[in-house]
C-alpha cells in the first residue's frame, strides 16, 4: 500500500483556517475556511476515505466574510465557530459611501444545515458543480464590538459545547451559550494590561485541571490564565525572540506546552518552570505559524511554517510515554491487528520524522485528525490542503 503518499486537495480561494471536526470520531473530516475579499467565502467540509484514499468535499457558504479562524464544537458535530472579517462587499460599499471604514473581525457560532451530509457530497474534480451551496445557519454572534477584533474562538475541550472563549484584541471573554447555542452571554472576562497596544495573537484552552486554564500569546510573551478567577497565573516573558504565533497543550501531560513563533523556533515548556524551555527546536527556515500535539501520542508534534514546510517531529524524551508505549492501549479503536509487545524495543530518540514539502506557499495551519491519530492535514495560503499520514514504520514502532 502506497498510502504514505500525500493526498492533495485544492481550494479555489486562499485559506488560513483549518480545523478537524472535533466531535466526529468516526469519519476523518476537516473544515477549511476560505479568505476571499471579493467572493462569498466558503467552508469546505473535507472527508477523507482512508481505505480508498479518496477525498470528498462539501461546501457551505459563509457569507459573513473572510474566515481568519475556525474551530469546531467538541460536543455537536454540526456546530462550529469562526472569526471573520465583515463581508468585503459590505465593507466596500461602506468604504465607497463614507470613505471611512474599519476592518472589523467578529466571532460567531454557526450550525451546519442538516442536509449537507446526505445530499451534497460531490467529487473534488467537479468544483463547479456546487451551484447552490447551502448557507451556514447563524446561531449567535459573539458580539464583541466593545472589545475589538476577535482573533480566535476557543471551545472548551471535551466540554458540552456550551462554553467558548473568544480572544479579542486585549480581552479574553468567556461566553456561556444556551443549550441550543442560540444565545451567548459573557460570563467573565480578563483584560491584558500593560503599556502599548497589547493584542492576543492566539490562545489555547488547556484540557487539564478540569479545563480551568487558558494559555494565550501576545507579542513575545506567553501567559497562563485561571478561568475561575480570570486572573493571570504565569507569564513567560520573551518566550520567543519574536512574535509567538501559536500554542498547544500537551493533551496527556499536565503543565507541558508547545509554542512557536517568528524566530523559527518551536519551544516546549514546563509551565512550572518558566525560566527556560524544556526543549527548543529550530528546524524551520521561516516563521512557524502552527504547532499541534497529536491527541493520543503526544510525542508526535506537527508544525507548519511560512517556509512552506510541514515538519513532523518525534519528541519522545518529553512526551508522556518517554519509554515507548508501555500500557496496553485501550484507545486503539481502529481495528489494528493484535500486536505483540517487543520487549527489547529501544526508546526512540528525539528526531525529525519527516519534512513534508508538498506546499508551495506559506503553511498557516496544521491539524491532526480527531478520528485517526495517524493522520493530519496542513493548509497553505494558496488553498492547498494536504493530508498526510505518520510513516508506517514509526506508527508500528510506537504501537508495538
Amino acid at each position: 500500500m502506497e498510502d504514505d503518499a500525500p493526498v492533495i486537495y485544492g481550494l479555489e480561494f486562499q485559506a488560513r483556517a483549518l480545523t478537524s471536526q472535533t466531535a466526529e470520531s468516526d469519519a476523518i473530516r476537516f473544515l477549511v475556511g476560505t479568505q476571499s475579499l471579493k467572493f462569498d467565502n466558503q467552508i469546505h467540509i473535507i472527508d477523507f476515505d482512508d481505505e480508498n484514499n479518496i477525498i470528498s468535499k462539501s461546501v457551505l457558504l459563509h457569507q459573513a466574510g473572510e474566515i481568519w479562524h475556525i474551530s469546531a464544537s467538541p460536543a455537536d458535530k454540526a456546530v462550529l465557530s469562526t472569526c471573520y472579517n465583515k463581508n468585503a462587499t459590505q465593507l466596500l460599499s461602506i468604504f465607497v459611501a463614507t470613505s471611512e471604514s474599519r476592518v472589523v473581525t467578529c466571532g460567531a457560532v454557526w450550525r451546519m444545515p442538516p442536509e449537507w451530509e446526505s445530499g451534497s457530497h460531490e467529487s473534488p474534480d467537479d468544483p463547479h458543480n456546487s451551484h447552490n451551496p447551502q448557507n451556514l445557519e447563524l446561531l449567535c454572534h459573539l458580539d464583541n464590538s466593545a472589545h475589538g477584533n476577535a482573533s480566535s474562538v476557543l471551545w472548551e475541550p471535551m466540554g458540552d459545547g456550551t462554553r467558548v472563549i473568544s480572544l479579542a484584541d486585549n480581552h479574553a471573554l468567556l461566553w456561556d451559550l444556551t443549550e441550543s447555542s442560540t444565545q451567548a452571554t459573557i460570563s467573565s472576562s480578563a483584560t491584558l494590561e500593560g503599556k502599548g497596544q497589547l493584542k492576543f495573537t492566539s490562545g489555547k484552552w488547556g484540557p487539564h485541571h478540569n479545563c480551568t486554564q487558558l494559555a494565550t500569546a501576545n507579542d513575545t510573551a506567553i501567559r497562563g490564565w485561571d478561568l475561575r478567577t480570570m486572573s493571570q497565573i504565569y507569564c513567560i516573558e520573551n518566550a520567543h525572540g519574536q512574535l509567538v504565533r501559536d500554542l498547544d497543550f500537551n493533551p496527556n501531560k499536565q503543565y507541558y506546552l508547545a509554542s512557536c513563533g517568528d524566530d523559527c523556533k518551536v519551544k516546549f515548556w514546563d509551565v512550572r518552570n518558566i525560566n527556560e524551555p524544556v526543549k527548543s527546536l529550530e528546524e524551520h527556515s521561516h516563521w512557524v505559524w502552527s504547532v499541534r500535539y497529536n491527541h493520543s501520542h503526544d510525542q508526535l508534534v506537527l508544525t507548519g511554517s511560512s517556509d512552506s514546510r510541514v515538519i513532523l517531529s518525534n519528541m519522545v524524551s518529553i512526551s508522556s510515554e518517554p519509554f515507548g508505549h508501555l500500557v496496553d492501549d485501550d484507545d486503539l479503536s481502529d481495528g489494528e491487528d493484535n500486536h505483540q509487545y517487543d520487549k527489547s524495543k529501544e526508546p526512540l530518540q528525539d528526531s525529525i520524522i519527516s519534512t513534508y514539502e508538498e506546499h508551495e506557499d506559506s503553511v498557516y495551519a496544521v491539524e491532526w485528525s480527531s478520528a485517526d491519530p495517524w493522520l493530519f492535514a496542513s493548509l497553505s495560503y494558496d488553498g492547498r490542503l494536504v493530508i498526510n499520514r505518520v510513516p508506517r514504520a514509526l506508527k508500528y514502532h510506537i504501537l508495538l
Binding site: L37, A88, Q242, H286, W287, S306, D307, G383
Partner: protein, 838 residues
C-alpha cells in the same frame, strides 16, 4: 747340549768373564742358591739327561749314551768328559785357595779390633763419671739462685700497680685541672681509662671515693658540655667536638640527636619566620607589630630591611608605595635559599658528620645509631622543608601579575637548584622531588594564569572594540528619528575603523599570545635546572602550553564568540551587529590561517612531542569556522530583523483601507534602502564581494519594466471572476514551479553578496507575510506598488540573484492585490515618476 759342552770345552776356562759367571752360576746351583732364573731351570732340570741340571741321573744318561752313540762317539764323549772334570777340579782348587786366604786375613782383623774396643770402653767409663759430677754441681747452683729471682719479679709487679694507683689517686685533681683549662677531650680520655678500674674496685671505700669524685667532676663536665652544646653561638667544630665527647660520655645518642635537631630547628624556624614576615602584607599593620616579640633582637634585625621602607615616614600609610616596595619573588627565594636552605644544608652536613658518618669507635654507642640518626634527620628535614615549601608556595601564589615571567622562572630555578644540594647531602630524601613538584605546580598555575590573562585580555580588547564601534554611532542611526543624515555618517565612520579594528584586534591578540609563549618558554630554557625534568620536556609542552594554554584560548575565543549568538536575545540584543561581523571575520581568519600559525609556532618553540593525544589543528579550525558561520548567520538574522521590524511596524500600524493616494515613496522604504546600503558597505569592509549571477546592464530599469509590465498586469488587471482567481493561482503556481524554494533563514556564505542577500530575503519575506495579514483599499495597493518599485530600483544590486528580489516583490504586490478590496493598480509610468522623485 753338545754345542754347549763343546763351547765350554773350546773356550779357555779363566779368560772369559762369561765363563767366570758361568762358574759362579754353577756354584750357586750347587749350593742351591738359584733364586734367579728359576723358570729356566725348571724347564731344564726336568731333563734327567742334562748333565748340568739338578735332576741329573747318571744311569739314564749312561744308558742314553750307550743306546745312542757309537763307540767313537762314546770315546769322544768320555775324553770330553774327562777334560771337563779336570777343568772343574782345577777351578775348585783355585776357589778353595782364594777363600782360604780371605778367611785368614779376616780372622786377623777381628783379633785386632777386639783389642781396640777394650781401650775405648775404658775411656767411656771415665767420661760418664765426669758428667755425673757436672750435673750434680749444676743442680746445686740453680737451687741456690731460685729464691732471689722470685723476689725480683714480685717487686716489679708492685711497682706497676703503684703507678696505676697513683694515676687513680691523682685523677680527680687532674680532671679538675682539665676542666679549668677546658681541655675537655683530655679529661674525657683520662676518665675513660680509669673508668673500668674504678668500676671494678668500687667495693673498696677508697676507690669508691675516687670514683664518686670522678663522677661528680665528669657530670660537671658533661653539664658544661651540654651547656656549650645548647648555646647557639658555638661553632660547628666546637659543636661536633661537644657531641663527640658527650657520646663518649655515654650520653644517649638519640637524645643528642634530638637536642641537636631542636637546636637547629630553632635557628631554621627563625629563618622561616623571617621569610613569613615578608609574605605578610606590610600595610596590614605597623612593621614592628608584625614581629613576634618572642623572636628577639636577632629577628628584629633581619626584619629590618623589609620593614625599612614602609617605616620611612614619607611612605608610611601609603599602601601603594608599601606594597610596591615589597621584595619580589626572586629576592624572596634568594633569601630563602641563602638563609634557610643553606642553614639546612649546614645542619644536615654537620649532623651527618656527628651522628651518621662517625667511625664506629669502641662500642660506645649501639650499632644502629646511624640508622636511627638518619631516620630522625629525614623526619626533621621533611618537616622543615614542608614549612619552607608552604611559605614558598604561598609566595608563588601571590605572584599573580603576569607581567614578567623571567623573575619567577629564575626564582624557581634558584629554588630548584638549591634543593639539589639537599639532594646531594641527603640522598633518598623526598625534599627535592617535592621541590620539583612545587615547581611543576607553579608552572601549571602559571599557565592557568596566563590563560586567564589572555582571556581577560581578549575580553578587554573586545570591550575596546565595542566602545570603538559604539563611539561614532552615538549620534547615529540607532537613535532613529531624524536618521537620514546618520546613515551616511556611520557609513563614513565605519570604513575607517572596521578593518583597522579587526587587524588591530587580531594583531594584538597574536602579539599577546606570542609574548605569553615567550614568557612560558622561559620554563623550558636550557640553563634552567628543572627544564630537563620529564614534566617540562613532555607534559608541560604538550598538555600544558599547547593544550591548556593555546588550544584552550582558541577554544575560548570561539566559544565566547558563539555566546554572542546565544546569550543575547533574538531581538538583536545589546551586541552591535558590527561586532558580530567583526568577530565572524576574526574567527574565519583564525580558521584559514591564524590557528595553524599559532599551533605551528607553539610546536616549534616547545618541540612538542605528541605523546598524549592533542587537539588536532583541523578540529580547532572546524570549531573556528563553525563559530564564524554562526556569527555571520546571527549577523544576518539581527540585521534582517532590524529591517523586518521597520517593515512590519510600517505595515501593521497603517490603516491601509483608508489611506490616501500615494504621492511619495514611504520614508520607511528609503530607510530600508539606506540601511541595506550601509550594511553592504559594512560587510564589504570585511568580506569579499562574492559571486553573483550575471545581471544585465541597467538592471534596475529593465527588470523594473518587466516587473511592472505585462506579467504584473496579467496578474491583477482582469476583472476578478472565479476563473480569473483560478488563473492567478495557476500563474503563481506555475511561477513557483520554476523557481527554487527560498530558504529564508538559511546559512550564508562568507562573502558580502550572500550576507546582504540573506538580509534582504528576511526583510522582504517579512514584508510579504505582514501584507497578507492586512486588508487594503485601492490606494493601499498603489502605495505598496510604489514602495515595491522603489525597493526594486535599489535592492537588485545587492543580491546574488536579482530574480530573487523580483520574485519576492512580485509576491508582495500579488498578495496585496489579493487582499485589496478595490484592486485598481497604478499606472506604471506614474509609479516611476513617484519613485524617481524619491
Amino acid at each position: 747340549m753338545d754345542g754347549d759342552i763343546c763351547a765350554t770345552a773350546t773356550t779357555p776356562p779363566d779368560s772369559d768373564p762369561a765363563r767366570k759367571r758361568r762358574v759362579h752360576g754353577m756354584l750357586k746351583l750347587y749350593y742351591g742358591l738359584n733364586e734367579e732364573g728359576k723358570t729356566v731351570d725348571q724347564a731344564e732340570s726336568m731333563n734327567p739327561c742334562d748333565i748340568n741340571g739338578t735332576h741329573f741321573d747318571p744311569e739314564v744318561y749312561l744308558n742314553k749314551l750307550r743306546r745312542e752313540c757309537s763307540l767313537g762317539e762314546l770315546m769322544d764323549q768320555e775324553s770330553c768328559m774327562v777334560k771337563q772334570i779336570r777343568s772343574l777340579d782345577s777351578d775348585m782348587q783355585t776357589l778353595v785357595y782364594e777363600n782360604y786366604n780371605k778367611f785368614i786375613s779376616a780372622t786377623d782383623t777381628i783379633r785386632k779390633m777386639k783389642n781396640d774396643f777394650k781401650k775405648m770402653e775404658d775411656e767411656m767409663d771415665c767420661l760418664s763419671t765426669n758428667m755425673a759430677a757436672i750435673t750434680e754441681f749444676s743442680a746445686h747452683i740453680s737451687g741456690t739462685l731460685q729464691d732471689q729471682h722470685a723476689q725480683i719479679t714480685k717487686l716489679s709487679g708492685v711497682h706497676t700497680l703503684l703507678r696505676k694507683l697513683q694515676f687513680l689517686f691523682e685523677l680527680p685533681a687532674r680532671l679538675n685541672k682539665c676542666l679549668e683549662l677546658q681541655a675537655y677531650s683530655q679529661a674525657v680520655s683520662s676518665h675513660r681509662r680509669a673508668r673500668c678500674v674504678l668500676q671494678q674496685y668500687s667495693h673498696m671505700p677508697s676507690f669508691r671515693g675516687i670514683q664518686d669524685d670522678c663522677h661528680a667532676i665528669m657530670d660537671k663536665l658533661a653539664q658544661e658540655l651540654r651547656q656549650k652544646f645548647r648555646d647557639g653561638g658555638s661553632s660547628a667544630k666546637d659543636l661536633s667536638e661537644c657531641v663527640e665527647l658527650l657520646l663518649q660520655l655515654d650520653e644517649p645518642a638519640e637524645e643528642l640527636c634530638d637536642k641537636f635537631l631542636i637546636h637547629a630547628q630553632s635557628r631554621l624556624e627563625a629563618n622561616l619566620r623571617g621569610l613569613e614576615a615578608e609574605l605578610r602584607p606590610p600595610l596590614s599593620s605597623g612593621p614592628t607589630s608584625v614581629i613576634d616579640p618572642s623572636i628577639g633582637p636577632a629577628r628584629r634585625l633581619s626584619a629590618a630591611p623589609t620593614a625599612g621602607s614602609p617605616t620611612d615616614p614619607t611612605s608610611l600609610g601609603n599602601p601603594f608605595l608599601s606594597s610596591s616596595s615589597r621584595t619580589d619573588i626572586l629576592e624572596f627565594i634568594d633569601r630563602g635559599c641563602n638563609e634557610f636552605v643553606s642553614s639546612l644544608c649546614l645542619v644536615i652536613a654537620s649532623y651527618q658528620e656527628l651522628f651518621v658518618n662517625r667511625p664506629q669507635e669502641g662500642n660506645l654507642a649501639s650499632k644502629n645509631i646511624p640508622h636511627m640518626a638518619i631516620g630522625k634527620l629525614h623526619a626533621f628535614v621533611d618537616a622543615m622543608a614542608t614549612c619552607y615549601f608552604s611559605l614558598v608556595e604561598r609566595r608563588i601564589q601571590e605572584e599573580k601579575s603576569v607581567g614578567d615571567n623571567s623573575l619567577l622562572v629564575r626564582a624557581l630555578d634558584r629554588f630548584h637548584r638549591r634543593l639539589q644540594a639537599v639532594a646531594k647531602l641527603l640522598p633518598g630524601s623526598a625534599v627535592p622531588s617535592q621541590g620539583t613538584e612545587i615547581v611543576v605546580r607553579a608552572a601549571r598555575e602559571r599557565i592557568q594564569q596566563y590563560l586567564a590573562a589572555l582571556q581577560s585580555f581578549y575580553l578587554d580588547s573586545l570591550r575596546d572594540v565595542r566602545q570603538a564601534l559604539a563611539a561614532p554611532r552615538l549620534g547615529g542611526s540607532s537613535a532613529g528619528g531624524g536618521s537620514h543624515l546618520a546613515g551616511p555618517a556611520t557609513g563614513k565612520d565605519a570604513p575607517a575603523s572596521l578593518p583597522e579594528l579587526l587587524s588591530s584586534l587580531s594583531a594584538s591578540i597574536l602579539n599577546q599570545i606570542k609574548s605569553v609563549m615567550a614568557s612560558v618558554q622561559l620554563f623550558t630554557a636550557k640553563d634552567i635546572t628543572f627544564s630537563n625534568k620529564p614534566y617540562f620536556k613532555g607534559e608541560f609542552c604538550s598538555q600544558g602550553v599547547r593544550e591548556s594554554l593555546v588550544v584552550n584560548f582558541i577554544k575560548f575565543v570561539c566559544q565566547s564568540s558563539r555566546q554572542f549568538c546565544e546569550s543575547v536575545g533574538d531581538r538583536g540584543g545589546s551586541t552591535p551587529p558590527a561586532l558580530l561581523l567583526l568577530l565572524s571575520r576574526l574567527c574565519l581568519d583564525y580558521e584559514t590561517s591564524t590557528i595553524t600559525y599559532i599551533l605551528t609556532l607553539t610546536d616549534e618553540q616547545f618541540l612538542v612531542q605528541h605523546r598524549s593525544p592533542v587537539t588536532a589543528v583541523a578540529a580547532l579550525c572546524g570549531e573556528a569556522r563553525e563559530a564564524a558561520q554562526k556569527l555571520l548567520n546571527h549577523y544576518v538574522k539581527v540585521q534582517g530583523l532590524i529591517i523586518s521590524q521597520m517593515l512590519r511596524k510600517s505595515v501593521e500600524t497603517r490603516d491601509w483601507v483608508n489611506t490616501i493616494e500615494p504621492r511619495n515613496v514611504r520614508a520607511v522604504m528609503k530607510r530600508v534602502v539606506e540601511d541595506t546600503t550601509s550594511i553592504d558597505v559594512q560587510v564589504s569592509l570585511l568580506y569579499e564581494e562574492g559571486t553573483r549571477k550575471a545581471h544585465s546592464s541597467d538592471s534596475s530599469k529593465r527588470t523594473f519594466s518587466v516587473y511592472s509590465g505585462s506579467r504584473q498586469q496579467t496578474r491583477y488587471a482582469p476583472s476578478y471572476t472565479p476563473s480569473a482567481a483560478m488563473d492567478t493561482n495557476f500563474l503563481s503556481n506555475i511561477h513557483k514551479l520554476f523557481s527554487e524554494r527560498i530558504d529564508i533563514f538559511s546559512p550564508v556564505e562568507f562573502n558580502k553578496v550572500s550576507v546582504v542577500t540573506g538580509i534582504i530575503k528576511i526583510s522582504l519575506k517579512t514584508f510579504l507575510e505582514c501584507v497578507r495579514l492586512r486588508t487594503f483599499g485601492r490606494y493601499g495597493l498603489q502605495q505598496i506598488q510604489v514602495d515595491c518599485n522603489y525597493l526594486q530600483m535599489y535592492l537588485w544590486r545587492f543580491v546574488s540573484d536579482e530574480n530573487l528580489v523580483h520574485f519576492l516583490l512580485d509576491e508582495i504586490v500579488g498578495s496585496t492585490a489579493h487582499r485589496c478590496l478595490d484592486p485598481a493598480p497604478m499606472e506604471q509610468s506614474v509609479i516611476e515618476v513617484i519613485c524617481e522623485r524619491g
